[in-house]
Amino acid sequence: MTKVAMTVNGKPVTGEVEGRTLLSSFLREGLGLTGTHVGCDTSQCGACVVHVDGVAVKSCTMLALEAEGAEVATIEGQAAPDGTLNTIQQAFQDHHGLQCGFCTPGMVMSAAALLKDNPKPTEAEIRHYLEGNLCRCTGYHNIVKAIMAASGQDVSVLAAE
């Protein structure tokens, strides 16, 4: 076992991990942050997306020790401490951007990464950016709509779901 230290959602954390411990396992089992979901475990579904040093990564395809010293942001750090949803989360609720909710943590974290780089993405840019996030419920329309709304754009022009 090796000691690992990183910052998660602004708080310094430490833990004991094996070389083979995945970042997703450390977050979920080491820190109890089970909002980060593991869907496919083959780096395809994107439910496990978190931010490491400001960029989106698939936490099931990164070792915990690779995140030594890094700033990690997970879905648990997105809402305000009193539970008030952030703009993206609220838009997902307002526009019915989720059904079962399993993919939602990854969708929200990917959307946050997109909007940081591209504050007013087009519908096509959103769909392209979400290539690595799979949703088996919504058909994506309302997710795309929610992200457009979160970026302050008029979504009435988007086709109804």
Binding site: R20, V55, E66
Partner: protein, 263 residues
């Protein structure tokens, strides 16, 4: 995954020492292929030697008309920073998905040499040079069959030097589940000739299509390869596409790449 020790050296020489002292140690780039391989227990390294902390392994600079890109540069960094070679930046920006591009590296892709990876086509078509801790390897002498390269044990790709062509384009027919190339064709036009490299199709990995290169060197337009065809016998066949289908795609994508390079 089987157990392994994780090591994060800060210099290339420390990394090389570990890799050379233990033949079961393996270098780790961004892990976007290696970690899935380990999860399936298809490999059992004793140690993973992360190259992420080594200084001087990232960054993009222009040297004598060539773009020199650090081996640990992520696909996202190349997509953003290789504006001096737009076709290469575009290729990097369409590998995998955004989260994969934030971790996967140029050196990692080349060391792995997946027969459907994008970068090998860019390196071969550009006539790039693979720079390691020990030597420089010309693209034509680097790739060695499926998942094979001429890298020695413990040899680390520190950078790749890409000559910048007059015009170039990469056309990738995406296999939608994996986002690898079902077939990808990279065309690069230099003052002294055209190079065409094909990934995803050949049963011996990335290859140059020399007949198309000759025809396009004489006349750089899509119709110049009319009548040329690839022998399907040497193509990959799997549930995503037959040999004949892949051979056909090589011709179609080559024409599209030439048309796009002409802008």
């Amino acid at each position: 995954m089987y157990e392994f020790d994780f090591i994060r050296p800060e210099t290339i020489s420390d990394a090389v020492t570990v890799l050379q002292d233990d033949e079961d140690a393996q270098a780790l780039g961004g892990g976007q292929t290696l970690i899935p391989v380990l999860k399936q227990r298809l490999a059992q390294p004793s140690k993973l030697v992360s190259l992420a902390q080594i200084n001087g392994m990232t960054g993009i600079k222009s040297v004598d008309g060539a773009l020199v890109i650090g081996g640990a540069s992520t696909h996202a960094a190349v997509a953003m920073g290789a504006g001096g070679y737009p076709a290469l930046a575009a290729l990097a920006g369409h590998i995998g998905d955004p989260a994969v591009r934030n971790r996967g590296t140029l050196g990692g892709s080349l060391a792995n040499n997946d027969p459907a990876a994008c970068y090998p086509a860019a390196v071969l078509a550009s006539g790039a040079t693979v720079v390691t801790n020990a030597r420089e390897i010309a693209a034509d002498a680097y790739f060695d069959g499926l998942f094979g390269t001429t890298l020695e044990d413990g040899e680390i790709i520190t950078a790749v030097r890409f000559p910048v062509p007059e015009a170039a384009n990469y056309q990738k027919f995406v296999q939608p589940a994996s986002r690898f190339a079902l077939v990808g064709v990279y065309v690069a036009k230099f003052a002294d000739g055209v190079r065409v490299a094909v990934t995803g199709a050949g049963d011996d990995g990335v290859f140059r299509w020399s007949e198309a290169e000759e025809a396009l060197t004489k006349e750089f337009r899509p119709d110049a390869i009319m009548g040329l065809s690839i022998n399907p016998m040497n193509m990959i066949e799997d549930l995503h596409g037959t040999r004949a289908y892949r051979a056909h795609l090589v011709g179609v994508l080559t024409k599209r790449a030439v048309a796009a390079a002409l802008g």
